[in-house]
Symmetry: C3
Subunit: 351 residues, 3 copies
């Protein structure tokens, strides 16, 4: 597969600079590009990296100039580059249609139009699946789940009973929605599970990462709000209310009964203790340990979580700690000297 | 579905205060309750939250008083509330019985009475499953596993060869028991896996969370003691001995060859290095990083893990760090002034 | 099952010391050994533990001496002990051959010789699997995956489209390779997913732990280099380049576009922010939080990650913090005293 660069320019409706007759044989990012490849530069600070790169051509934003390599200028670099990648490595188009003969679908389940159900799926009693959904191999939807339209459930996802999923949701492989909450009471020296009568409700346009777990509420729902994106291996505890359009990075752990506002961002490996409320547009830095409520529109970092500015001042002091210790010692010595000298001065007869 | 409040009171054998003729149409926790709902208050400090809540009635403990809303007083609030929830949203009762035609069960496996095996399950050679067990869809029990009575194994759980599971155990979806330990020796610049001849032994009444992984021992068992509860996405390394009635919260990581006593509690995201021993009834605060043995009946927090009291004193000092730094600077200046003044005093002729 | 100790010695080609006629009925590590067991001691510092151990005999390295218990001296203790364990508890030998009738294999997939495919597996369109591979129950290989020779894929592993896996790779249960990267752009107040046109490429002799997730690149590959070993529940973000022979412990989180050199070691729960480069042979201590590039052949620990020596000096100062605070207060007092005395000395007439 090869394309003349001028054909690439035509494909992405871009403005060509340099020799349009050179052959393009692939599309790779800067770090990986080799001769024959077209690459992309989407912001000025990456321009310098083009020197060490053996790409034959580059797609860049209109108005950005580059020397020594052919270029195609476009208004949306990422969209244009994606188009070229798809020419060289076409995405696989799902052929499957309908319900696989090796899936198990309860007679009481109701499926919308154009639902695709892959082999090894189980769909429990009274489950409802909206039109246009794709349920990939080995996913299990237990009794009474309700799934909206055009939702994709990847292989081996498990939805426990009564889970409610919105429209256009994506749940990646091996995520588990609706397992029992981690709540116990100690009775006669043994841990007895609290009630597990609740369920999980995931609103529309949510994405849930691979291996992520979201526990059911005690008596009612654990909720994830519209448009929220959750990365891989995240834990969301029972009774939580996650707001709308949150971004929750990988390996975050949210203990039971927390709430978040809208547009909250949590970096990787953040931990929240139970029953804390995070205000809208708050940002929690990676690995932050949150022990109490966080106000809206603030940025907290560290363990325990601290306003970022305050933490920076502390970190600066912390990095001076060994120096401070030395200073303290020398100061103590100096004070003792002064003290002795003063003593001498006051009692000159003793000298 | 609706019930008069007096019928709710009768159902839970509680004492009614207020108008028993009002209609109850649902049961929700304080945060979610709307008109028509009965809610619950199980401790005095939640009473104030009732004001902002539009519930029509509340279930509360005997002896607790409330004004402005109808109430039902009972001795066990949570049990009573659970009863009401189950009336309004009956739990789904498993209909499945016996072995699904689309499960694979080895001819050499032995199943007890009343075992339920869902579609897509595989039961390997010489596996034994005790009576009353439920093995949910897509779970895989590899060769020679032994499972006790009345144990529930949720969808897509994987038990590697020779895993031993006790009675009344619950293993949640996508947990993996018995994968290879992370032990390597470097031989000629390559990492060679150590022996993987062991297995995992889980005692009775244990609960294991979704996505949790427990690795097999090198030559013998990795053990989890009776009654211990493990949350989601926890890692237990090879050769560990987890004691009885531990509570291990989500995303805890326990490296190889650790031991814990009984009634140990670990908060979320705690990490233990390999070969540490945790004494009985020790508590490890969320995110603690444990580098050495922890004595029984103590509470440790922080990275590295430190006795809680000590850590609090350090944290207090830490929050004063920037101030200390300023103080140190001003003190240095003051000492220099003093020093100059003293010099002047001692050598007045130089003035 | 029992063996005379002299037969154990013969089996492992070791030198017997003590009574060779005693019966050996099992093999256990020091902590677990009971009468009748043979145990192992592979380094001098474990010798003392033999006193509290009721093992009947011990396998130890040539040249090491022990009193009061029969012994067998060998050149490779672990290999010899493994041999004995296998006599007492023979490893289960896989009986399965060929493709299970309850697997789904696309007509366009190509399988090498001696491939074993267990029940419930799905093999998508145009997938290629090399000879000698074992694909365990419930694993799903989506369209166009390519797997090398003699690779083992454990139950419920999911490979998304276009995943490339090398030879002699082991992927443990419930790992997910090739799910979508966590990349979003905010368009009109909503998070829109970036391109998901890439894939994952795993080189030969890699091992991937249970529940681990490795995301696909944006336009091209996310790569894991030859011989690298990854533990359970690790997250590797989109576009990462993991080098060769790395050891990555459990629950590590690596954000997008990171690179590592060769022989990098990361302790448990380490976190890397996006776009950082880790030099060859660098070591990152457990729970380290890496915010910027790490030079080759260094050891970093802490949050934020700091050279180990520097961190130790800081930790030492940190543990003296409360003391420093006290010291500072007493010094301040002392300086005030001196100041007053000096004043008095300089203005004796005021006294």
């Amino acid at each position: 597969m090869r394309l003349a660069l001028q054909d690439v320019a035509t494909l992405v409706e871009g403005r060509l600079a340099g020799d349009g007759r050179i052959w393009i044989t692939g599309a790779s990012i800067l770090r990986d590009a080799s001769p024959g490849d077209v690459t992309l530069v989407d912001r000025p600070k990456l321009l310098s990296a083009l020197n060490g790169c053996s790409a034959s051509a580059v797609i860049l934003p209109e108005g950005m100039e580059v020397e020594g390599v052919a270029s195609v200028a476009v208004s949306d670099v990422r969209a244009a580059f994606a188009k070229v990648v798809e020419v060289f490595r076409p995405a696989y188009r799902e052929q499957a249609r309908g319900v696989s003969a090796s899936a198990y679908v309860s007679a009481t389940a109701r499926l919308g139009d154009d639902v695709v159900i892959h082999p090894g799926v189980t769909v429990g009693d009274f489950v409802e699946i909206g039109s246009g959904c794709v349920i990939h191999a080995g996913a299990h939807l237990m009794a009474q789940c309700r799934v909206g339209r055009d939702t994709q459930i990847f292989p081996n996802v498990v939805l426990y009973e009564n889970t409610v999923i919105g429209d256009r949701v994506r749940i990646h492989a091996n995520a588990v929605i609706g397992a029992y909450g981690f709540g116990y009471e100690t009775v006669n020296g043994r841990h007895e599970s609290t009630a597990q009568l609740g369920y999980v409700e995931v609103a529309s346009d949510v994405e849930i990462g691979a291996g992520t777990t979201i526990d059911r509420g005690t008596y009612g729902p654990t909720r994830v709000g519209e448009g929220t994106k959750i990365d891989n291996l995240v834990q969301v505890g029972h009774n939580c209310r996650i707001g709308r359009h949150n971004l929750i990075c990988s390996q975050v752990g949210i203990a039971g009964s927390c709430t978040t506002g809208d547009f909250v961002v949590m970096g990787g490996q953040v931990g929240l203790r139970d029953h804390v409320d995070i205000g809208s547009q708050a940002m929690l830095g990676a690995k932050a340990g949150v022990m109490s409520d966080i106000p809206a529109q603030t940025k907290y970092v560290g363990i325990p979580a601290t306003p970022e500015r305050e933490q920076m001042v502390k970190q600066a002091a912390w990095s001076k700690l060994p120096e401070m210790r030395k200073e303290l010692r020398s100061l103590r010595k100096r004070v003792e000297q002064l003290s002795a000298q003063l003593e001498q001065t006051r009692r000159p007869e003793a000298a």
